[in-house]
Amino acid sequence: MTTAISVADLTRRYPGHVALDRVTVTIAAGSITGLLGRNGAGKTTLLRILAGQEFPSSGSVSVLGAPPAENEHVLRRMVFVREDQAYPDFKVRHALRAASWFYPNWDAGLADSLMADFDLRPDKAIKTLSRGMRSALGIVIGLGARAEVTLFDEPYAGLDAVARQIFYDRLLADYAERPRTVLLSTHLIDEAAALFENVVVIDRGRVVLDASADGLRGVATTVSGPVLAVDEFTAGRPVWNRRCLGSQASVVAVGQLDEADRARARSLGLDLAPLTLQQLVVHAAGLPTAPGAAHVPPPAKEGVSA
């Protein structure tokens, strides 16, 4: 497996604020990776540095084998779709034509069919487009570029659920036809979760989770049922969160459950539900350290809460 993006010990400081703190991440070529975390966690800063639009304070960045900043050879093979991308004062078709000049793999047929899907008119002035339609234009350019490295930073501001589903479906379809490296930052984690082969979670400038999406399934499980049974089942296990209501309790147990565990839970009358990626990110974001790929995040034992 070759590496498309590699970042080592990357730090980006602003006056009075560290946006990225010794970030080390590698992204395999030809994979779709989710870049997740809260607003202000450092996702956009990382993407801007990968796109050569910002410089690191220290550390190294390599995209397609070379530092991206001011590197024409790398930048032409990469597309970066920003949230609320600004455009010059021209029409949609002018933006598409400019993209067709810049990106060597530009696929006009794909762009046209995406335009039709989003109901985006080529003769519209970009400044008159709604926020959602401007997002759609960014997506058309991001997919139409068919760039070896495709960076999407919250690409769907203002898009409704139907339009977002079009984006996911078209991304998967075109990725299947032309595999490439996609890094997608989003806060709509659950609806995008199945797109990802890998997941990187950033919190306060640090990588707190870097794992395969499959590996994360079952890393933690919500166990719920009668308090006594829940406590019996989770005794000796690390837990993240314990909530009680009357005689019922709900606990997040950390660690994979095997078939014997499941059988035991059934016989105790307990319900087991795996943490969704979104729930996992909520918990992972509170973690102080950066576990390696596919490692179970270290548990934070919490006290009883009402």
Binding site: L172, A176, L195, E197, D214, G215, A263, S267, G269, P274
Partner: protein, 132 residues
């Protein structure tokens, strides 16, 4: 993601769905199974995840690869899957049924009666073969 959830990893669920289709006869032995990209588009999942699901079944000998054409249901796959399902039947259905019955105070005799009653409705117009 079209109706995939539960605790198992997505690739295992894809494998499970295909296995269920083979066991139910929806995919006949010797028939071509959907490609990785077809599965990815249908379930709205990453193609690598779909490929892992298919490979899981291929590794178990339930699917066989025909070079350049795709994956096909292996001969004997259905029989093997049905045998496996029978083994799982007790763990998956009978035991949870007994646990729930005990929890709401249904005793053994009552439970047997209920099963008989439901079975009568369920099997009355079939040919009598207990298909699960």
């Amino acid at each position: 993601m079209a109706g995939l959830d539960e605790g198992a990893p997505l690739f295992a669920q894809v494998a499970e769905r295909l296995a269920a289709e083979i066991a139910d006869g929806g995919l006949a032995e010797g028939e071509r199974v959907p490609s990785t990209n077809e599965l990815a588009a249908y379930y709205r999942i990453n193609p690598a995840t779909a490929a892992k699901g298919i490979n899981l079944l291929a590794d178990n000998g339930l699917l066989e690869k025909r070079r350049g054409i795709g994956m096909f249901v292996a001969v004997g796959a259905r029989r093997r899957l049905l045998a496996q399902r029978r083994e799982e039947f007790v763990e998956r259905y009978v035991r949870p049924l007994l646990v729930e019955a005990a929890r709401i105070g249904i005793d053994g005799g009552e439970l047997a009666g209920l099963i008989k009653e439901c079975g009568h409705e369920h099997f009355s117009d079939s040919e009598g073969g207990v298909t699960v």
